[in-house]
């Protein structure tokens, strides 16, 4: 039972990561791949707060989200002047640079990672409680992102992604929209990090490397860029796949490369054969308005 609960917790966390990453790259078209570092910031912040200040887990997790959102400004403010490939390069630098800092600081546990994070719940139903929280957080994330994307704000994001110059020339502040999208997306990743830290009680810097960027990108691409339910499908597949591979009984030294190859293959196959992903984006909510033909001219 605990095995199943752990899988579901990972699904919940990964849905949050994939959905928030999808908001940034799929919906807003901002080519950042630094998402894992904001996940890390959330995990480390909430873990450290719990260890050193005894702050309660909910507050610590929210603080993790806030710190991740705050750090997103450090990336977005200077780098939003650039776009496309340049933004991607900046984001890689930001991710790996910050990760180096984490790996070399004493108080983050350096290379060995952060251990002994206190658990807020104990007892036999611990996994079940976490499972409910993770799935609920994932559901809230999906609802919130759907609300943003389907409404008037989403219309602005679409227009910005279609043609940023024309969008600005209409009086829209594209820079502010990008900063807000980054902060929201990265904040959600930070909260997911907090959940991870409190359940597994151990955070290692290795899990936030470029490989994690690849995994998150795979979830978004396979699930469906810009779609609401795509990240759910993507997260389910990417959590289930490694579990399935364990049943192949391969030697452990073999597992990581095999997994990496499968993920990469998936992305390449999807980009060629089904670039819209498994769940294509749904059309935006129609814009309600009064009937067009007041004077009875026109088609009908």
């Amino acid at each position: 039972m605990e095995y199943l609960a752990t899988i579901l917790i990972l699904v919940g966390i990964n849905v949050m990561l994939a959905a928030s990453f999808n908001l940034i790259i799929g919906k807003a078209g901002l080519a950042s791949i630094a998402h894992p570092i904001f996940y890390a910031l959330g995990a480390y912040t909430s873990g450290l707060l719990a260890i050193h200040t005894g702050l309660n887990a909910v507050a610590a997790t929210l603080a993790g989200g806030a710190v991740a959102a705050l750090f997103s400004l450090m990336m977005s403010l200077p780098s939003l002047r650039v776009a496309g490939d340049y933004l991607m390069i900046t984001s890689i630098g930001f991710q790996l640079g910050l990760l180096q800092v984490i790996k070399n600081l004493e108080f983050t546990g350096s290379q060995g990672g952060l251990s002994n994070i206190p658990t807020p719940v104990s007892g036999p139903e611990r996994a079940f409680v976490f499972c409910v929280i993770a799935l609920a957080a994932a559901a809230v994330t999906l609802a919130a992102i759907r609300w943003i994307v389907r409404g008037p704000y989403g219309r602005a994001i679409n227009a910005m992604r279609d043609d940023e110059l024309a969008f600005q020339a209409l009086g829209r502040n594209a820079t502010r929209i990008k900063i807000v999208i980054f902060a929201i997306g990265c904040g959600i990743a930070g909260i997911a990090g907090g959940l991870y830290a409190f359940y597994f009680q151990y955070v290692s810097p290795e899990q936030f490397e470029i490989l994690a960027s690849g995994t998150m990108l795979t979830m978004v691409v396979v699930g469906g860029m810009g779609s609401t339910w795509g990240p759910v499908v993507g997260a389910l597949i990417l959590v289930a796949l490694p579990q399935a591979i364990t049943f192949l009984n391969l030697p452990p030294s073999f597992m990581a490369p095999v997994q990496g190859m499968i993920f990469t293959l998936l992305v390449i196959l999807f980009l060629f054969l089904r670039p819209q992903g498994l769940v294509p984006p749904e059309p935006p909510a129609p814009l309600a308005h009064r009937p067009a033909d007041r004077e009875g001219k026109g088609a009908r």
Partner: protein, 252 residues
């Protein structure tokens, strides 16, 4: 009363290429000014300088007396600079109406805070924008296409939508970049009529256009540009009779 748009000593060069060389220009309410000249004369560049796509090297641009120096693209639009683009730059994944609803000087849906704390006000503002957009489309006989994706429309109608989107900005200054290129038939007449109406309603309009008959029919005055300089200015008839223009245009 001073001009809506004033340009004084505007200069811009890209490396060795001079696109604006000491340009001075006044645009008044109700005026339709034609901007003509051979390709590469700096006509579109002048629009880019006014709307803030590229910064000035020197000089001054004022709208209703307010200096545009240091103002970003979106700030200038909010100060009342509305423009269209040669290649339209419509939002390709959106419908006609959606293209227009995000285009007023103030778009209520642009702020998450307002969406959270005053959803009713945002809804009302968006509904008002819809009404305004439909009224503009009505005048263009396009209202029945409001919910069509812009990419489904024929070229001439897309050009009209480009103008319709710019008209959502109720600012005093309207810059039209080759509104007639590739437009014919009914769309041509509609375009002409709408531009005339907007000027009559008090907008200051500046048109870059190669279609001389459009300029002749519509413009109250015109300037002739070449290599970033304004070479001649006057009524359209005067300009068309000018030898300089004939020489530069036709090499006569």
């Amino acid at each position: 009363m001073s001009a809506v748009l004033e340009l004084r000593g505007v200069c811009k060069r890209f490396g060795g290429i001079v696109v604006a060389d000491d340009v001075a220009l006044d645009l008044d309410r109700g005026q339709i000014l034609g901007l003509i000249g051979p390709n590469g004369a700096g006509k579109t560049s002048l629009f880019n300088l006014i709307s803030g796509v590229v910064p000035l090297d020197a000089g001054e641009i004022r709208i209703e007396g307010r200096n545009l120096a240091g103002r970003k693209l979106h700030e200038r639009a909010r100060m009342g600079v509305a423009r269209t683009w040669q290649n339209m730059r419509l939002f390709q994944t959106m419908t006609v109406l959606e293209n227009m609803v995000v285009a007023p000087r103030e778009y209520a849906g642009e702020s998450i805070a307002r969406l959270v704390f005053a959803p009713g006000a945002v809804r009302r503002a968006v509904a008002e924008s819809c009404d305004k957009a439909l009224a503009i489309l009505d005048r263009m006989h396009l209202a029945h296409l409001a919910d069509s994706p812009v990419t489904d429309l024929p070229f001439g109608q897309q050009k009209l939508v480009g103008l319709a989107r710019a008209l959502m900005n109720d600012g005093p200054c309207l810059l039209l970049d080759e509104p007639m290129a590739g437009v014919e038939g009914q769309a041509y007449d509609t375009m002409k009529e709408i531009v005339r109406q907007e000027a009559a309603a008090g907008r200051a309009v500046c048109v870059v256009e190669h279609n001389i008959s459009f300029i002749k029919d519509l413009c109250t005055s015109a300037v002739f540009m070449s290599f970033g300089r304004i070479l001649e200015r006057g009524s359209v008839a005067e300009l068309l009779a000018s030898r300089t223009l004939a020489e530069l245009y036709f090499g006569a």
